[in-house]
Symmetry: D2
């Protein structure tokens, strides 16, 4: 059985998904593409699939599922329409920057009874997944501390930052998801500090480019997250879980695996630079899980609730940063 999927939104991430579905995801088929720009035509031509002229037309394409990769502010409207059209839904993160909107989308999905999976791809990264699995299988006992380091090689364009929801809802949101995923426990309180260290324009946009967040979980676990928009040595992505019986941690990949030793010491190349390269396997495995869920009628592994919770934490982080105090998630919603 093949699951046919229409990709809605063919920007950077949508066109990547289109390629993967067309060529690299066993059991999946790219059934069509749509975008408000010309990019859809290019993508459709490259992968030989129908190009819809409108969202309605895209939802009229006979298909099992849609992938929502449009701009964040349109996610919920598209989700509601797709749910009403009876499509299984894959939706990129964040679902929305507005919690009420998220709830409206999730309600429509629930009413329609269609499967929904949120695009927190890092859960499918084999290295990070090994950490979560070690916890899940009891290999390290109860989790006491979780440390997440997540640093980008360089900041995105200022225009993107302005509509991104800021660092906590755009970038850290992945780490909030990871904290819940690895510890297996909901977040209770959020304390955030931040600074503008990379580019004053980021500060002018009302955002920070350097942040540290401390989370406490219902289980008693404590998570630290540190973020920077610019790590000159590459894309730095590490997750560590420390528990009563041990510790598990994921580490980065270098550009290649060679060392040169001289009388001044040993050198290794920088880390991989680009998230599409670093996380290729996670994107493919994410699709494999979605295809499997739709095919088998089972529950997708990253649910609507998993899409909502990190937004609550992100909004709490912003409130904490503004007010200089720890904020309880229940203050947000």
């Amino acid at each position: 059985m093949t699951i046919s999927i229409v990709v809605l939104g063919t920007g950077r991430i949508g066109s990547m998904h289109a390629e993967y579905l067309a060529r690299r995801v066993p059991g999946a088929k790219l059934a069509g593409v749509f975008d408000v720009t010309d990019s859809a035509a290019t993508v459709g031509a490259e992968f030989g699939c129908p190009v819809a002229a409108s969202l309605d037309e895209a939802l009229a394409i006979e298909a099992d599922a849609v992938a929502i990769c449009t701009s964040t502010d349109t996610h919920v409207d598209v989700m509601v329409a797709a749910a009403e059209a009876g499509r299984a839904i894959f939706c990129e993160k964040p679902v929305s920057l507005d919690l009420a909107e998220v709830d409206r989308g999730l309600a429509a999905v629930e009413a329609a009874g269609v499967p929904l999976q949120i695009g927190f791809n890092r859960r499918f990264d084999p290295s990070h997944k090994a950490v979560a699995d070690a916890v899940d299988h009891g290999a390290i006992g109860d989790v006491h501390i979780c440390n997440i380091t997540s640093r980008d090689p360089g900041p995105p364009p200022i225009e993107y930052i302005k509509v991104s929801g800021g660092i906590f809802c755009d970038m850290t949101i992945h780490d909030f998801d990871m904290a819940r995923y690895v510890t297996g426990s909901e977040v209770e309180t959020v304390y955030a500090v931040g600074a503008v260290q990379i580019d004053p324009a980021i500060g002018d946009a009302g955002d920070v480019d350097t942040a540290v967040v401390l989370l406490t979980h219902v289980s008693g676990a404590i998570t630290t997250i540190d973020n920077s928009r610019k790590a000159v040595y590459g894309y730095d992505q590490r997750v560590e879980a420390f528990g009563s019986n041990g510790m598990a941690r994921s580490d980065n990949f270098h550009d290649f695996n060679a060392r040169i030793a001289t009388d001044r010491g040993f050198t290794q190349p920088p880390l991989q630079q680009f998230f599409l390269e670093r996380y290729t396997t996670s994107y493919l495995d994410q699709w494999a899980a979605f295809v499997h869920a739709v095919e088998s009628g089972g529950a997708p592994p990253v649910t609507g609730a998993d899409g909502r919770a990190p937004l609550v934490i992100g909004l709490a982080a912003w409130k904490s940063l503004r007010e200089g105090r720890p904020v309880r998630c229940e203050e947000i919603g």
Copy 2:
């Protein structure tokens, strides 16, 4: 400009090349496929290209180049025909198991004046290449010692082994190429020892499955190579160059990059198991170099002479193993 390439032979390696050329090599186009089996039809259908019914038909397809991926014993005949047809030629290793045949093929290529590149893909592996580059750029001074470890995760089928030319011409031949590539110096003497440790059937086929070879180079450098057909912990591929000013070495990739620590110690996953996965980048970069050479009219980076020399070393290794003494390459030809 796009370089169009017909793939001749669509077994395991040929169909991989076909996919890469069809989809993943910028500037390349899969112009057709041919095989003596049905596999060509499958590959042609998947990538939407013409399927030739015969070698002649394949060479009649309008194209810039061919990739010779047929069985080893047919390489030279195909090479001669392709040269006469004026095609640029990519040829899988080994060119032949018979030195006179190699010379016949190279002569035809030279007479036709077409570019020829031999498929020693490991030269394009970024980790091994970094070792060679360190030598080339003088970072470690003059090379005194080169150590190559090359161990497969498991032996190929006995039927394959029987026609493979044996471990030295099938498997170690990559390491002989690597020794020349990394040291930048021709091999003078070869001393080989071997054993049957993995499977007696390999011995019954007249081959060994465990081997160590010691090479001396014209430059004075000394190379050690150790091979096994079965490393239970994965595909183990390491190259080290030691010189007057330092050392450079490449190392393996684990299945994923995570560690689990308990009171009994730290664990990491096994190494990647499969050569197509381990060497994906090398295959892509190999094609990029070929495409660039054909496009620019420049010399391909792995020449016919580079295809011939490792065969001489391989034949010398067999002679050394049989006679229990070091053999000079000039004894072979």
Copy 3:
């Protein structure tokens, strides 16, 4: 020239210092020992030095310096007496748990004009020092984030914990010193969370055994510290500084450096278990620095102010934990 030193207090750490001074610190001589228990007699016999019957007698021994290794609550009285006796002073951390007492001790030292060095030995660990040096030499630019992981292999006896000042003044105090040392910047605010995860008896003693502290520095840098009293895989001591031009980090040593690979993966031994073993070099280099300072008349590298500041941070951490809010250091003193 040899610097003669009387060791005051010959418990676990004092007898270690006595051995080092007697045998392993070039330019130093163990001039005598004193303790309120019989341990001094044992230590004196082993290293062949006078054993004083009282503090007064110990301070009457002709010597250049004293090492204050008595119980924490007596440090300041001993410091005042040693300063009045004109001795150069090495004092173990923490100087006191009472800030007014610290100030009384430092005032006496200043009045006497004697050199004073505080025993924050980790500054002399070559791995951590390399991180601080990388910052100091500008190799990683301005520090934006500092991450300190400090986990003991097992908790000390409850009786020790009861008089230790609690985790922040006993254990984390080293990390507070490290944060100041590595970032080169004073701490402005402290936010601490903690939990009892290892042993309820630690909670009954009014302490926590698991803690995470977030510090903001005057420079804008942000530090995270995570502590546990029990890491089953060994003594885990890591420091990382992330800055505008790069990152520097120190890592642990395993019990030995060997790996075993099987089809289930690679294994390494646990980390070194014991702080005296892990930090041997730091203790020796700490003494070398003290001896050099006394000999040359220069300033010791870890000053009285360096002894005071981490106590302020530790007290702020306790206040933060109790009140559930970030605390400014200036609230403490």
Copy 4:
């Protein structure tokens, strides 16, 4: 019970042994020292032990054992005298450069019935020992290949080289011992190549400074050894055993354990430079084993036969290098 030991020969290695016995080996006592030079007086004064004026006087000191650390050409005479005096004997490697002499020494030891341990300290290095233990415990199955890399940070003085027995009997002899120790199998054939790459004066002395040796063992295992007298990045000591069920390897220690990452990559410090520092634990554990054997009346772990076999291999290596062919150990004796 304390084992008292007289150190005979107080050059670099002998004075190190004297210090360890005087201060760092539990259950051992330095009972006296002797040397033909003034060095014995210095050592005796430092550690407070008798200084013998002659070998006879040294053997008259009441003691359980002697440590033979005199120049290699005197080892056997001293060994015979010590055996006749009924002393347990620790003897530095090599026992002699003359096989007949070795046999004379071993015969005297056997006649006297005294324990004898040869100073192949590397067997006691915890990292290398972990490799041997992995083999011994069956963790990696039958050994097929053993790789030993052994490179010094710099060559010894030419005067030393002239009387050293050359690289194979002075330096590689440790690796020959390691090959027997790790594989648990005697050596059958030896093939050696060598070059003068570091210093022509070494060649003028009839020696080589770069060497690769290939050994075959009775068990079928094959060993490669590579040596250089000068590795600019530090003292490089690695042992790897590859077998039917896996692989075990030991690795080096860096000067300290820190990394600095910039946009040009990651750097680590060079390796430890000095063998006394690299192998401290091995020297201490070697003494612990000797003390235990003498105390318990058990057999020392490195026997006279273990001292003889590597010399046979070393002499075979010289013969192989001179004659350009593999040499069987039985050709030597």
